[in-house]
């Protein structure tokens, strides 16, 4: 197991005061919170920061960590000393945290603070029934998955209490069939896959918010799909028929004569097949042939002589 340098994670000195640690944590948490930062990796970083603060923000845990970690550097192979045990005098970590093996080796799994287990027993004794909570997670898919539908396996880590009231993280893998036509930010639901119900109540649902992985070719806006389509100047000027990729297969796109840079050509219904289906847009990007041969230069020179073309006409001679 690798040693985690919590000071480095929070970017503070080992001698930092509790106030400095709190400040560093708050700043980083705002920066990497997955609801505020959409970058891939922000969520992992946010968890790491949370774990570091859980230890360094608590004077007791910090002292224990300092005592253990004085001789270790980040990433170094770590073995806890024999007979190591840490007793929480406070309530321990909350049920929403998902901490590393390193953390759990040092501090164990947090004892549940609130009366959840006793409360649920109480509910049971009164034959109280309650529907389980809905769970929320994100799922990242490719554009092709939204076009064709896809089966994906999703691993979820959810907190759970064992019979001793200890928090454990339960990992489960769900095979999810993603319907075709989903769009970025859309929610999909898996019935009965949320938290179990209390006292025999029905389970909650699992909501997955769909996010698209960046696509090397296409841009996605709602259910519409955009492609930058390079064309030669003569194709734009004279018109042409161009073989163009779309997410659902190539089409022959007719470029009207006299098309300018950035012109959008729409292919109706060739975007994401949602309800209603999105459109596909090819955005013309006029590519200039290089003037790197005598022949090419001659053509450009001839154009310069024969075409009365002023690309800056709109400046009005200013």
């Amino acid at each position: 197991m690798e040693f985690k340098d919590y000071y480095k994670i929070l970017g503070v000195e080992r001698s930092a005061s509790q106030d400095e640690i709190k400040r560093a944590y708050r700043k980083l948490a705002r920066k990497y919170h997955p609801d505020l930062n959409k970058d891939a990796g922000a969520e992992v970083r946010f968890k790491e920061i949370g774990e570091a603060y859980d230890v360094l923000g608590d004077a007791e845990k910090r002292a224990a960590y300092d005592q253990l970690g004085a001789d270790y550097a980040a990433g170094q192979e770590f073995r806890p000393p024999p007979n190591w045990s840490f007793e929480f005098s406070t309530s321990g970590v909350g049920p929403d945290h998902d901490f590393s093996d390193f953390f759990e080796t040092l501090f164990g799994r947090g004892r549940q603070s609130g009366g959840f287990s006793s409360r649920s027993q109480q509910f049971r004794s009164r034959e109280f029934q309650e529907r389980g909570e809905d769970h929320h997670a994100r799922i990242v898919i490719d554009l092709a998955d939204a076009i064709n539908g896809a089966a994906r396996s999703v691993t979820l880590r959810t907190p759970q209490l064992d019979e001793n009231g200890l928090r454990t993280m339960r990992s489960r893998t769900l095979n999810v069939k993603i319907p075709k036509g989903v769009t970025d930010g859309q929610q999909i639901r898996l019935k009965g896959q949320g938290a179990p119900g209390i006292g025999g109540g029905p389970p909650g649902d699992l909501y997955l918010t769909v996010e698209f992985a960046p696509d090397p070719l296409y841009r996605i806006d709602g259910s519409d799909v955009y492609l930058d389509l390079p064309v030669a100047p003569w194709e734009a000027a004279l018109g042409a028929s161009v073989n163009t990729p779309t997410p659902s297969g190539p089409v022959n796109l007719k470029i009207p004569a006299g098309s300018g840079q950035g012109r959008k050509l729409r292919v109706k219904g060739r975007g994401i097949p949602s309800n209603p289906p999105g459109d596909f847009y090819a955005v013309l990007q006029i590519a200039l042939p290089p003037a790197n041969t005598a022949e090419a230069r001659a053509v450009y020179e001839e154009m310069a002589r024969k075409l009365a073309f002023d690309p800056r006409a709109k400046f009005g001679g200013k």
């Binding site: 909501y207 955005v283 990007q285």
Partner: protein, 109 residues
């Protein structure tokens, strides 16, 4: 990309037209009515209907509530703080969408 042998769960698309009562919302998100009321009075949630008993939430509110709860928990925000953060997030999202739609034109400048 699925494990062989495990059952495959079919996800259904949550339509924005799906309507939930305040009781269903509370149950789904494990929040109480007072909290929902506060979010409505802050303008964070805008259900249809005049009185609390008539409130109808669309399914997209569920996602908004989940974000609000996470922001509340992770930054110890109070109700006006949640409202401000969500408003700024909405604006960022709208600007990003606008940026995406302008990108082709921008390249041509």
């Amino acid at each position: 990309m699925t494990n062989n042998g495990s059952p495959v769960h079919t996800a259904e698309v949550v339509s924005p037209g799906m309507v939930l009562t305040v009781t269903q919302v509370c149950q789904s998100c494990k929040v109480d009515r007072v909290w929902i009321s506060e979010m409505v009075s802050q303008g964070v949630l805008e259900p249809e209907g005049q009185s609390e008993t008539e409130w109808q939430f669309n399914a997209l509110h569920i996602r908004r509530i989940a974000i609000a709860r996470r922001l509340e928990r992770d930054f110890s925000l109070n109700a006006p703080g949640i409202a401000l953060a969500l408003q700024l997030l909405d604006e960022i999202e709208a600007l990003r969408a606008r940026l995406r739609s302008l990108e082709p034109a921008r390249k041509g400048d």
